[in-house]
């Protein structure tokens, strides 16, 4: 039953976007959607593609995209950001989410812009980048002030991040008038914010705004710190950063999103995901492990958290 609906979802994903599909059929190359579907089929049938003959050469469009991504990732502005590529796998993650130049992409809570410095240049002159922040409760001040007034702040931040390069940049808070952006987004991306949405009371308004912004055939990509499946519920409400993958899938179902595919791109099996001080125990925060300590070295070895990478589609 669940397998069937999962397949149906993957099939639907294959059918979008139509022009790309047609173009790639012509070249007899699988679209990313088809690759996702194959991945799902492989999981279901227990087939391992890596043991089979290597895939034929990529299509021109795919090679061009990979080239663009490579240029974006190697840009000097990312000199410091690049240290985290080994943990965040931006090229693989954005490919899994089927992001293409020219798209309109919503990035939920861009914060200090690590992913913005990838997305804005990658989406290119034809693309639109929308940074979406929640409505901030008046009690949240200090650090949280940077999330207010997104309409002016995010485009200004973007200038500092990437200059005039790349996509047109917009900023929104969920309590702004969203009408003129309704149904315009090809993708919405939520990078490591589900725990904050839950614990700060942003979840409902944010998910409703996300549904409003997303096209009917748009997709939602989620990367989130992952708790062990048997983690106690008291650990997974959000205060420790980690969420159980099953709970995130349920949560998205409550908001009318169906899982298309899950990837282990951002998995880290060395993370026990049970830190007393939560995910902030690991790099880059190292909470509770002083500089130069053996404990800090041990955690550096582990790396950033274990993460789920999930792709959802909007259902009625």
């Amino acid at each position: 039953m669940r397998v069937l609906s999962c397949l149906a979802a993957a099939t639907m994903a294959v059918s979008t976007p139509a022009p790309v599909m047609a173009q790639q059929q012509e070249q007899e190359e699988p679209s990313t959607g088809e690759q996702i579907l194959r991945g799902v089929l492989d999981v279901l049938t227990g087939r391992d593609r890596t043991t089979e003959a290597p895939q034929e050469t990529q299509s021109d469009a795919q090679m061009e995209r990979a080239q663009t991504m490579n240029e974006v990732l190697m840009h000097p502005r990312r000199a410091e950001d690049r240290a985290r590529d080994a943990w965040r796998h931006p090229a693989e993650t954005l490919e899994f989410f089927d992001i293409e130049p020219g798209m309109t992409v919503v990035d939920y809570m861009p914060a200090t812009g690590w992913y913005s410095r990838v997305l804005i240049p990658y989406l290119g002159r034809e693309g639109n980048y929308i940074g979406l922040n929640p409505e901030l409760h008046p009690d949240l001040t200090g650090y949280w002030d940077m999330y207010r007034n997104a309409a002016s702040r995010i485009p200004a931040d973007a200038r500092n991040w990437v200059g005039m390069d790349g996509a047109r940049v917009w900023g929104l808070n969920t309590d702004d008038e969203l009408e003129s952006f309704a149904g315009t987004a090809d993708r919405v991306l939520i990078f490591r914010e589900i725990h904050n949405m839950r614990r700060f009371g942003w979840l409902h308004d944010s998910m409703m705004a996300i549904r409003t912004l997303l096209k009917d055939d748009g997709l939602l990509g989620v990367v989130q710190h992952r708790a062990r499946e048997d983690a106690p519920i008291g650990y997974t409400f959000g205060d420790n950063g980690y969420q159980r993958q099953e709970d995130v899938i349920r949560l998205m179902a409550v908001y009318g999103f169906e899982l298309v595919a899950a990837s282990e791109i951002n998995a880290n099996p060395n993370d026990p995901a049970n830190w007393e001080r939560g995910v902030w125990s690991l790099p880059p925060s190292y909470a509770g492990a002083s500089e130069g300590s053996a404990e800090r070295a041990r955690r550096a070895e582990i790396g950033e958290s274990d993460r789920m990478t999930l792709l959802f589609r909007k259902v009625s």
Partner: protein, 269 residues
Amino acid sequence: MRLAPLFAAAALALAAPAMADNHAEAASLEDVLAMDSRAADAVRDRYRHPAETLHFFGVEPTMRVVEFGPGGGWYTRLLLPWLAPQGEYMAMQADTGPGEPGQPGWAERFIAATTSSGAFAAGDITAFESDEIPDEVLGTVDRVLVFRSIHGLMNANAADRELRAIRSLLADDGMVGVVQHRAPEDAAYEYANGANGYMRQADVIRLFAIHGFELVAASEINANPDDPANWEGGVWTLPPVLRYGDQDRERYEAIGESDRMTLLFRKAN
């Protein structure tokens, strides 16, 4: 351990000098349902099936029970006289945020409203907002009852916070009883997201699962197959709100109150 404060609370309630006569000793649920003070409330019994619902939730008169979001007090006026002699009735409201300085908070207003008729004594009621749960209540409650409040929690961005607070109240073997306006399983998400009062049963079960609750049983006690549950004006089209006044009133009254799910959850990991 858990019984000690429970008996203490009951003893205190019995010792309260302002205790009204009509609940100085234990009364059966049937007796309470038939009390004159419920005459106006009793017209809704045919839609709300209180005896069957409380039985399904396994509520006993000796239990420590929290009613979440008591609203106008329809269930309060039944639960309080039934539970006060041997058990304990408490009311919890979703955190309403910082109130107006010098003005009474929700708990004071609720107790004042509930005792205004003279039928109940203030000493019988414990009331608190979810951000002010008394320490001695945490982990001690046998049942939390949530009547038609889930959509409101969704709309207020408060479901996470409040379901978490509800869980913190419960004893390890405590349970949550939920009654909620029900959208058809195939209702469009845009209709069933809470804004119209109705929610899909599967979504409510998922929401509780995320917060560490496992479904024990579902009942059709409060189902109403005559409700299409697709009103443009939401659940408030039907009685008791009847938002359109006299317009089509007879039709809405013939349907009655909304189709409702009745769900019992226990704590899970």
